[in-house]
C-alpha cells in the first residue's frame, strides 16, 4: 500500500512531463508558447514563471475549494490566480528587472493561461494540498521543458546560438525561425517527434 502511494506520487510528477505534457499533448497555453520562445533563455524563464504561479495557485485552490460555492468557483479561482501573477510581477520587477523587460508583456497573460485554470478545475479542487503541489510541479516542469526545447531549436536555427552562446561566429541564422512562422513550424515538427516517441513507448 505504501509503495503504491509513492508510485502514484511519482506518477503525478511524470504525467505532467510526458503523458499530459501541456504543450505537445494537450496544446494548452499556446500564446506564451509561440510568443516567448525566441530563445532558450526566454522559453526557460517563461516556463519557470508559469511553474511558480501553477504550484502556488494549485495549493491555494486545493485549500479553499471545499468552502467555495459552486456557482462562483471560476471568479474565485481567477482572483486567486491573478493574485499570484501580480505577486510574481512585483518580485520580477524588483529582483530580475532584465528578465522582466523581456517577458514583461506576457507575465500578466499567465492569468488567462488555460493550463493554470485547467489544473485548478481538473485536479486541484478535488485533491489535497500535497498532491496538488506535485501536480503543479509536474505540469509546470512539463511546460518549462517544452518551452526551453522549442526556444532552443528556434535559437539554434534562427540566431545560430544556444542559451545566448553563439557558435556561428557572428553569421546570421535563418531569420524566419525567430519570427512567428518559425514558431509554428518548430512547434509542429516537435509535436510530431514527441508523439511518435510516445507511441513507440506505450
Amino acid at each position: 500500500m505504501k509503495e503504491d502511494r509513492t508510485m502514484s506520487k511519482f506518477k503525478l510528477l511524470t504525467d505532467g512531463l510526458v503523458k499530459n505534457n501541456p504543450t505537445f499533448v494537450l496544446l494548452l497555453g499556446m500564446c506564451p508558447t509561440l510568443a516567448t520562445t525566441t530563445s532558450a533563455i526566454n522559453g526557460l524563464s517563461m516556463g519557470l514563471a508559469t511553474l511558480f504561479v501553477l504550484v502556488l495557485s494549485n495549493m491555494a485552490i486545493s485549500l479553499i475549494a471545499p468552502v467555495v460555492p459552486d456557482k462562483v468557483h471560476i471568479p474565485v479561482y481567477i482572483v486567486v490566480i491573478a493574485t499570484f501573477v501580480t505577486l510574481l510581477q512585483f518580485l520580477m520587477q524588483a529582483y530580475t528587472p532584465a528578465m522582466y523587460e523581456t517577458l514583461g508583456l506576457f507575465i500578466p497573460l499567465i492569468v488567462v493561461n488555460c493550463i493554470v485554470l485547467g489544473r485548478a478545475e481538473a485536479f486541484a479542487n478535488k485533491h489535497g494540498v500535497g498532491e496538488s503541489a506535485l501536480d503543479g510541479i509536474g505540469v509546470g516542469l512539463g511546460f518549462t521543458c517544452s518551452l526551453t526545447v522549442l526556444g532552443l531549436v528556434r535559437e539554434i536555427l534562427g540566431s545560430g546560438s544556444a542559451f545566448g552562446w553563439s557558435f556561428t561566429g557572428g553569421a546570421d541564422g535563418m531569420l524566419a525561425f525567430v519570427m512567428a512562422p518559425g514558431a509554428f513550424l518548430c512547434l509542429g515538427y516537435l509535436m510530431v517527434l514527441f508523439n511518435k516517441f510516445l507511441k513507440k513507448n506505450s
Binding site: 468552502v67 460555492p69 456557482k71 462562483v72 474565485v76 491573478a82 493574485t83 512585483f90 525567430v178 519570427m179
Partner: protein, 198 residues
C-alpha cells in the same frame, strides 16, 4: 467538493477571497516598492553611464526628458531621452551630448524592430560605433541614401532613418537647452518610405 451555492455564502466567500488577496498584494507592494525603485534607478544610471563620460550626479528634467550629468559643479554633458516611430513601433534612445554639442555616444533604451534586421540597431557594432563622437557641425545628420553621412544598417533603412531622426531630435533639445528655449522633442516621422523625407 464544492459547497452548495446560496446568496449568503457566495457573497461571503467572494468577499473574503478578494479581501485576503488584496491584503497579500498590498503587503507585497509595500515590500517590493523600494527594490523596484532601486532597480529602475540603477537602470537609468547604467544607461546614462553608457552614453556620457565619467560623472557624479544626475538631475532629471521631466519636461524635456533629459538628465544633466555633473562632476562636482561642472556640467559633463546631457543624456537626452528621445523617442521616435521606428519600423515596428516606438524606438527609444538615450543620446549623450557633451557641452560642446558633440554626440558622445548613444544607446537604445527600447525598440520593437524586426529581429535580425532593424533590431541590429542595438547590437551592430559598425552602426553603433559611428555615433561615438558624431559632430553635427562636421557631418551631415542623415543616412547616406538621403545624402548624409550616416551608414545605414543593411536592409534596414527605415530603422536607420528613425535612429538618425531620434539623434537629431535629441540635438534639438540640446540646442534648446543652450538657448534656454523649450523645444518640442518629438516630431512625427511622416512618409517613411519616401526618398526625400527630412
Amino acid at each position: 467538493m464544492a459547497a452548495k451555492s446560496n446568496l449568503t455564502n457566495m457573497v461571503l466567500v467572494l468577499g473574503l477571497v478578494c479581501l485576503a488577496c488584496s491584503a497579500v498584494l498590498g503587503g507585497a507592494y509595500v515590500i517590493t516598492k523600494a527594490p523596484i525603485e532601486a532597480a529602475a534607478a540603477a537602470k537609468t544610471q547604467a544607461a546614462v553611464a553608457q552614453v556620457l563620460p565619467h560623472f557624479e550626479t544626475l538631475e532629471y528634467n521631466a519636461d524635456n526628458h533629459y538628465y544633466t550629468a555633473k562632476d562636482g559643479e561642472a556640467v559633463v554633458g546631457y543624456a537626452i531621452e528621445s523617442t521616435v516611430v521606428g519600423f515596428g513601433g516606438p524606438l527609444s534612445l538615450m543620446v549623450g551630448v557633451t557641452v560642446d554639442g558633440v554626440v558622445y555616444n548613444t544607446s537604445v533604451l527600447s525598440h520593437s524592430e524586426t529581429p535580425g534586421l532593424g533590431a541590429k540597431c542595438s547590437t551592430d557594432a559598425k552602426f553603433m560605433d559611428q555615433w561615438r563622437g558624431f559632430d553635427p557641425a562636421v557631418k551631415k545628420l542623415s543616412v547616406k541614401k538621403d545624402g548624409g553621412d550616416v551608414d545605414a544598417i543593411t536592409a534596414s533603412t527605415i530603422t536607420s532613418r528613425a535612429y538618425t531622426l531620434a539623434v537629431e531630435n535629441a540635438l534639438k533639445v540640446f540646442d534648446g537647452l543652450e538657448q534656454d528655449v523649450v523645444v518640442p522633442e518629438e516630431e512625427p516621422l511622416t512618409d517613411e518610405g519616401g526618398q526625400d523625407n527630412e
